[in-house]
């Protein structure tokens, strides 16, 4: 399903690469090169996602973001920035953005994050809060997970990990997304600690079943699907 995306990015090369990639994914992308123009287009509130470079001519990214939020425009905003330190990321997130991605990034990472933001804004509170993925059922209120007839025992963090996967079922989830969303850490660990957690969760979900649920997506991350 195609979405409307506003890209505010002054770097020609990055912008070209993003417009090509996102268009191929079926989205329609409008591209502007400075902050003022970006704010002008965004203030209509007609986009599903705004991808905002942090350092822009005329009006910088954080100022655009603040102006949008002050005008009650709630369109999800993903900030792109070359400012890579933990403090810079926190500044970006505190400024009202929904996600923060450091340059250089892989297109797979950007796409996974964009999809997570689309899904989040689509989510409607439903009468049945249970999440079902193939033959697995998750009850977020009771924090109980069943697959078929079997109840699966998970530690609290494993449960949070699974719930995040389930809420993004069918979409790629990257390692840094997991670290940020499930653990709330914004640094890059030098080890494969996230992979170890995922494979542990996978063992618990798939032990005794033939059908795999948690898939590894090469060069990108993981995906939960039936």
């Amino acid at each position: 399903m195609g979405r409307k995306i506003l890209l505010v990015e002054d770097d020609r090369e990055t912008a070209g690469y993003l417009v090509r990639g996102l268009t191929q994914e079926g989205h329609s992308v409008e591209h502007v090169t400075d902050g003022q123009e970006g704010l002008f287009r965004a203030s209509g509130g007609t986009f599903d996602l705004i991808i905002l470079d942090r350092m822009l001519p005329v009006l910088d990214g954080l100022a655009v973001l603040r102006a949008l939020r002050a005008a009650n425009i709630a369109t999800p905003v993903l900030i792109l920035s070359a400012l890579a330190t933990v403090g810079d990321r926190i500044d970006g997130l505190d400024g009202g953005s929904d996600d923060y991605l450091v340059k250089p990034f892989s297109f797979a990472e950007l796409l996974a994050r964009a999809n997570a933001l689309f899904r989040r804004s689509d989510a409607r509170p439903s009468a049945d809060p249970k999440i079902t993925v193939a033959d697995m059922e998750i009850d977020p209120l009771a924090r109980v997970v069943r697959r078929g007839d079997k109840k699966i025992d998970l530690k609290p963090r494993e449960y949070l990990l699974l719930e995040y996967f389930a809420r993004n079922a069918g979409k790629v989830v990257t390692r840094t997304m997991l670290l940020e969303q499930v653990w709330d850490y914004h640094f890059d660990p030098g080890t494969n600690v996230i992979d170890v957690h995922v494979s542990r969760l996978r063992r618990k979900l798939e032990e005794g079943f033939d059908r795999p649920l948690l898939h590894t997506v090469r060069g990108a991350g993981y995906m939960l699907s039936g």
């Binding site: 933990v86 403090g87 963090r157 850490y185 640094f187 660990p189 957690h197 060069g219």
Partner: protein, 450 residues
Amino acid sequence: MRTSVRIAFLAGLLALAANLAIIGFIHLQTYDQSESTLRRQVTQQAHVLAYIYRSGGLPALQSAIDEPVDPEDPEVAAALIDPSGRVVYGNFVYLPAPGETFGEGYRSGLVRLQDETAAHEAGVYFQRLPRGRWIASARIAGEGLALRETLERSLLVGVALSLLLGIACGVLVARYVGLRVRSISEVAARIGGGDMDQRIPVRQSGDAFETLARQINAMLDRIGRLMDELRMLTDTLAHDLRSPVGRLRSAADAALVATSREELDQLFGKIIQESDSLMRILTTILEIGRTESFAGRNQFTSFDAADLGAELAEMYEPLGEEDGASVKFEKSGMDFDFRGHRQLLAQALSNLIENAFNYAALGGPITVFVKRNRDRLQMGVADRGPGIPADQREQACSRFGRLDSSRSRGGAGLGLTLVRSIAHLHNGELVLDDAGPGLIAMLDLPVRHD
């Protein structure tokens, strides 16, 4: 040069002010109230006698002189003087000083009273009368009038002299200061020109100039050390970045001539991996710079440090299972909220845990601990590895300061430097200690009560 003129002028001015103050004091102490009374009395008396003479002529004046209004006051003296200076009628003679000329007004001088031979000091008032005559009225002064006048004259001379001496002193001081300052400014100019090895010659004078020279030299030494460090740092950085870039390049070279899709995928994977590790090194360098400039202090929040430690221990616990090392968490002291940068402290603790895995795991348990020790928060990791000898601990914390024993393991040697700068951000220290056996690496941070 203008400065020394100003100093000389200032010194002279100060000397003058000080002397004026002293002279004023002496004058105040010696000034006799009676002198002004004397002056007033003789002036009035002269006016009265002149009036009498004008209205009653010589006879009236004679009787006024012979029969004083106040018989109790025998010191009243008066005389009528003709244009040639001769006393026409009177009971005293004024003895002018050599060269003194007559004029109307008050003066002090010597007089001889009628029927006496000795001269007295007196205040005298001369008033002009018609036809060139004068009325002189005199009163004998007490002792000391002349002495005081001498004193006042010498004080005036003293003022002039002290002004000159003050300026002379000022010039001397200015020349001395100028000389001492010039030796400093010449060195500063040479250093400004690029010769960082210059130092100010230190004279054993024990004064402020010696202190200043020593301080400037110490400052120059420190700047020199920092510059050396920086130079070494950029050299090391350039050198250490060459190897990942080299690996990157050789993977790209290999990809160019790869024959199978599988081989190509593997090489691209390697290229991405090497780029990521390069990016990680660069981000860490930026992170250290940012942390060392204390930029993160506006992001401090209150949180439970023990929770953070437990969370990270739990996060790394499965990694330990794979490596055959167990990760334990220990806390001691009461629960409390610590104010700090949660994200950076998490990163610091995670670096310490990963170090323990990289250098010391080999099956031994890794203990993550958070301790409240009075006003200190101590959070860190203890392992059972080989530890770091005491004399190498400082090197282990410095930028790119990998110990030779760990060079083969990869990594840029920035981990502990970042941890240390995070400790500094919280006004604390990174402490490396002996766990007997093993290494304790912890952040020792003050708990603030504001």
